[in-house]
Subunit: 362 residues, 2 copies
DNA sequence: CTCCGCTCGGGAACCGGTTGCTATCCATGT
DNA sequence: ACATGGATAGCAACCGGTTCCCGAGCGGAG
């Protein structure tokens, strides 16, 4: 009868006070715990709190100066495995540090991003983490710079996570991974197996992540004194469907190659399926490599050789750095390492063969 | 010089008022837009707002009665593909409806869940969405019921999404999908191909989602007058590693079967890899089916026959229903359909053969 | 028997907004 | 010329908390 029968909506601290026969200040103090209160009073108050199922309004507390620290992260689409990994890292670390965690997916729309950052400023979020590559245009830098300043002047902080850094002096924390280096190492590995015509299935050509991986591809060739045939690099996006489409196109064009390097594991997965559909054996006829080392990579058949990116760690680091209190490290820029993980999808080429013959036999 | 030179932290509405030479009320009104203000005043105020880069504190607004609607969802681990899909649906629909979106992953810890729900109550979230199966114990019902009441009395709402429903009368919205039905249809399909010994790789035996799928497996057999060999159902969890381990175990035990039904696509992926490793051909020697229809399922080789679950729609519906204003539909319970999607991993069994012989030959 | 200091609780101001009520100004209508 | 009223802007109260400051009661020391 007593317990929670008198709901009728959220109760205030004054309701509790009235029920306990004390003042609101006293309730606040026993809940705060940092103030001497007689145990009799404490008991009465606690009882009233339980009876009313009272929880102090976090927004009101915030206004009064006792904020619930909050942090936001925005990505394009949480559905992508590598994004999900980062999100997980961010979320874990944030809650470990006692922060609430707001998400927003922009679906690639700049306008959404802008609006969301504005909301976060209104929420007085401790930090806003922008995740994932983007086109590095002047407009991008300008816009992002403005967000950074705006956030900074509100006592908040912008974090760029795997996203093109701004010029120096911007109040921004940047966490990246060695994107180009990973691609370089991977392609070097493929080349070392003896492949000479390796097809590159890239992403959008203005997307910095895609660019970095393509640069690695080129650099690895040049380091061996090779100049890759321009016909061998094709552009799409980072989706599974793009890999499938691009691969089918390459097959139809009767392009000659003995290995394929995909810009992401998703692209590789699509490409692999297209290869299977065309009757091309992987890695027998054609070797295949991916990028990201998403959990699924090892369950592809053959298990995918790829480059490991510490996505979850990236996310964790992003929040730890953003929330790091030391003021001297204000404009940090971190770079995490990547490494290739060798599985079964890349082997030396046959003396003769490759995609063209395999497909025409199929 | 003028612009944003006078940062020094967030500015208040009174700063803006002072700079524009008006009162705080006036600033509030021009920002609110719903009150007649002379255009001269409006201009001065807007200019001050821009100069100071002012954004009203959302928490203060909330206290004053103009809340930013917020909604929370909590899941075990956003890294799982089906969870990610639901998260995406939730997030999309929430922002479409103008809500902010808080996340929390519990890592399976009940304590975390409880604490988070309490925070959400303090935040006055419009709804809290609990995602993913759980053990349906008395303790679970009791605890969840308590959360529901607590939230309800604070004017909020608990949504159970793919999670065991409470008894009637609980102030809860439940969104489920036809878990057992999907499994039934899938196993019926496998049986219809002629398989008689089908191995079931299940999840935790107290987990309701796992139970539902297992019930479907059993029911499909019985509908045909078959009683499956108890040795053919094995329990693990819903991870890729579990599938791998279970499959290896079954192979080592020289269990006889011609088809495998995995409780999730992840489990199927692990099992498939184990099968490949043992030199068993899929679907030649053994057929394989999964559950969830995660995007990756069709890039497995062979492309995985599985049952499609409308996860994203589930998430969208969860928020739409939770936020649905009609008060008559207070204790809603929705059930979404599932359907099997036939790909290449299930074919009729060979006259003789199956896993045992294939493995011993390999 | 005072006086002092400590413990404990209440009143009121404040946080950063919103909004009801009121006062002023100015342009009409007659 | 005066009443009338619409358009604007300001004052002050309020939202739900926290905390500063102060006073009351009480026990021990001098």
């Amino acid at each position: 009868m007593t317990r929670k029968s008198e709901d009728a909506g959220r109760s205030t601290i004054r309701d509790v006070a009235a029920r306990a026969g004390v003042s609101a200040s006293t309730v606040s103090r026993v809940l705060g715990g940092m103030y001497p209160v007689s145990s009799a009073t404490r008991t009465r108050v606690m009882r009233a709190v339980r009876d009313l199922d009272y929880v102090a309004d976090a927004r009101a507390k915030a206004v009064a100066g006792v904020a619930t620290p909050t942090l936001a992260f925005v990505l394009e689409d949480i559905t992508g495995p590598s994004f999900a990994l980062m999100a997980h890292g961010v979320e874990r670390e944030a809650t470990r540090l006692g922060h609430l965690c707001l998400v927003c997916s922009t679906e690639g729309d700049v306008q959404n991003e802008l609006e969301f950052v504005e909301m976060m400023r209104a929420q007085r979020a401790a930090a806003v983490i922008l995740v994932g590559g983007a086109a590095d245009t002047a407009e991008y830098r300008d816009r992002t710079r403005r967000m950074a300043d705006s956030l900074a002047s509100a006592g908040s902080r912008l974090v760029l996570c795997g996203r093109p850094p701004l010029g120096p002096g911007a109040p921004v924390t940047v966490i990246e991974y060695d994107n180009e280096g990973g691609a370089y190492a991977l392609v070097a590995h493929v080349l070392a197996q003896g492949h000479r015509r390796v097809l590159f299935l890239g992403g959008k050509s203005d997307h910095t992540t895609a660019q970095g991986r393509e640069r690695g591809y080129l650099a690895a060739h040049r380091a061996r004194g090779l100049e890759p045939d321009p016909d061998l690099v094709r552009h799409g996006d980072f989706t599974r469907d793009s890999g499938h489409r691009l691969m089918r196109g390459a097959l139809k064009d009767e392009l000659e190659f003995t290995a394929v390097v995909a810009a992401t594991d998703m692209v590789a997965a699509g490409a692999l399926t297209a290869l299977h559909e065309a009757g091309v054996d992987v890695p027998g006829d054609v070797s295949l490599a991916g990028y990201d080392d998403i959990p699924f990579a090892r369950d592809l058949h053959p298990a995918l050789t790829t480059v490991h990116v510490p996505y979850e760690e990236l996310g964790r680091l992003a929040v730890r750095t953003a929330l790091g209190r030391t003021p001297e490290n204000s404009d940090q820029h971190l770079l995490l390492g990547t490494h290739v993980v060798v599985r079964n999808s890349v082997v030396p080429p046959r003396e003769s063969g490759g995609a063209r013959e395999a497909a025409s036999l199929g």
